[in-house]
Symmetry: C2
Subunit: 120 residues, 2 copies
Amino acid sequence: MEQHMHDHGSALDTARQGMPADELLCDLADLFKIFGDTTRMKILFSLFEEELCVNEITELLGMTQSAISHQLKVLKDSKLIANRREGKTIIYFLADDHVRSIVGQGYEHLTEENHYDENI
Amino acid sequence: MEQHMHDHGSALDTARQGMPADELLCDLADLFKIFGDTTRMKILFSLFEEELCVNEITELLGMTQSAISHQLKVLKDSKLIANRREGKTIIYFLADDHVRSIVGQGYEHLTEENHYDENI
DNA sequence: ATAATATATGAACACAAGCTCATATGAAAG
DNA sequence: CTTTCATATGAGCTTGTGTTCATATATTAT
């Protein structure tokens, strides 16, 4: 006698097939984790238009220079941004166009699905 | 005398122009935060192939039923998955094809840029 | 060399987030 | 209506993460 209405077993197997290796799943989550912070998201958006030095980003976001530097390090370590020295200042820029497309996808998801100030 | 080699001011203004509202930035970060956990990523991948009930996902991931339920709630609250009741079991499925494309973008970023077991 | 400017970094702290454990809900079977 | 099966949920604990504060490094100017 079947106790479930949908097949319990073949569905599991199919799901198991498509599951990537644990390491990749973990790396993937770690990548998205980088985008999962408002400060970092703001930094990325600011670099969408122009390359900027630390002080400029600090001003733009109205935060501590230290806080910005810490987040810049996170972003740089994950290869999403890169920097070059120019005299005393260090200029940061996007390392990769994937950043734009990933953030763009999320942006689309929000602006399409959700309704920002649509009656109230 | 200019103390900076790149223009400090117009770049800032340009960056300020393209910066979306704080609320949207925050929502965007919150969206990516959902993808930034291995357990949730595994759940999403498992639902890429088949719709599954809680017990199946629990088996598949080899975790506590409680842990899974908690994460399913997070995913459901953020509208990435949905569910329907079928007798005693509750079946979860992807709510949106954006999920596939967002995860797909991240996946591409990793598999293209990085080199998985490419000579060690 | 010394001072000034620009950025980076480590430690400490506060808060968020995920898991576990116990328990609650809800549907179906006896 | 009581029991069983499937899932949900709240509290507590533990770990992770972002910010601040103080300080270090690095480059340029005096």
